[in-house]
């Protein structure tokens, strides 16, 4: 495959990830890291570091758009993020001492339950809220 095609593919993937990130309120690492590892053959650590570099401008642009429309309290957001950053450093340090795979499985299961409850609740109340 030519370099141009690969670049276009990465660009298209970035575009989709950016759109999903903007609407879902996430960074996009959940999509980008597996993409880089599986499709581009980048190592796990390099993929994670690269993804963080992409997440930053993505969240800045999305926040700028939301702030200009008065849809976000930027101060609150950044306060939350500062706490998150502190917690993240602590989490990364703790992770070194704990069995990551077991944690991952427990949390994955928890996410699965939250998602199932959320979707089940929505399914049960379908038609009740005023949307098409």
């Amino acid at each position: 495959m030519s370099a141009v095609l690969i670049a276009a593919g990465i660009l298209a993937f970035g575009l989709c990830t950016g759109m999903l990130s903007g609407i879902l309120g996430i960074g996009g690492g959940t999509f980008m890291v597996p993409f880089m590892v599986l499709a581009l053959g980048i190592g796990q650590h390099a993929a994670e570091a690269t993804s963080l570099l992409v997440v930053l401008p993505t969240s800045v642009v999305a926040t700028f758009v939301l702030a200009r429309r008065g849809a976000v309290d930027v101060r609150r957001s950044l306060q939350l993020g500062l706490m998150g950053a502190a917690g993240g450093v602590a989490g990364a340090l703790i992770a070194l001492a704990l069995p990551a795979d077991a944690l991952r499985r427990v949390f994955g299961l928890f996410m699965l339950i939250v998602a199932a409850r959320m979707l089940h609740g929505l399914w049960k109340t379908r038609g009740q809220a005023g949307h098409a």
Partner: protein, 139 residues
């Protein structure tokens, strides 16, 4: 803008400011917890913070998404500085993903402003399900 939003309330297509009533200690706890889990498990902060903001702090789905995006800014700066300092960066992937993502983020954020909460809940629920499966498969 004084009305309160909750997930079950009738839709409003106006942009809504996050509920000012959310107490700061709760926000601090969510930030710490979200960051902790994200650092511990390598998941994005938003995956953890959005459900916490909705189910614990009582944010409307849309406000939680918007708040999470802003919160990701300092988190990604600190994480990149910690994790990225020693790691190899794939420049080609970084450049082209960023070019695409920045354009996409504008589109996504604009869509978020006008989106209704139920549709956002469906979308986030599906995303969370996918993210959970990805995590379990990896583990």
């Amino acid at each position: 803008m004084t009305d309160t939003f909750d997930a079950a309330a009738p839709l409003s297509h106006r942009p809504s400011a996050p509920r000012p009533a959310t107490p700061l200690p709760k926000l601090v706890a969510i930030g710490l917890l979200g960051g902790l889990l994200s650092g511990l498990l390598g998941v994005g902060g938003g995956t953890v913070m959005v459900p916490l903001l909705v189910f614990w702090a009582g944010y409307a789905q849309r406000d939680a998404h918007a708040t999470s995006l802003g919160a990701i800014i300092p988190i990604s700066i600190v994480s990149a500085a910690t994790l990225g300092s020693g790691a190899h960066i794939d420049v080609r992937a970084a450049v082209f993903l960023t070019l695409g993502a920045v354009v996409g983020a504008r589109v996504g954020a604009k869509a978020l402003v006008g989106a209704d909460d139920r549709k956002l809940q469906w979308l986030f629920g599906c995303f969370l399900l996918l993210a959970a499966v990805l995590m379990l498969v990896q583990g």
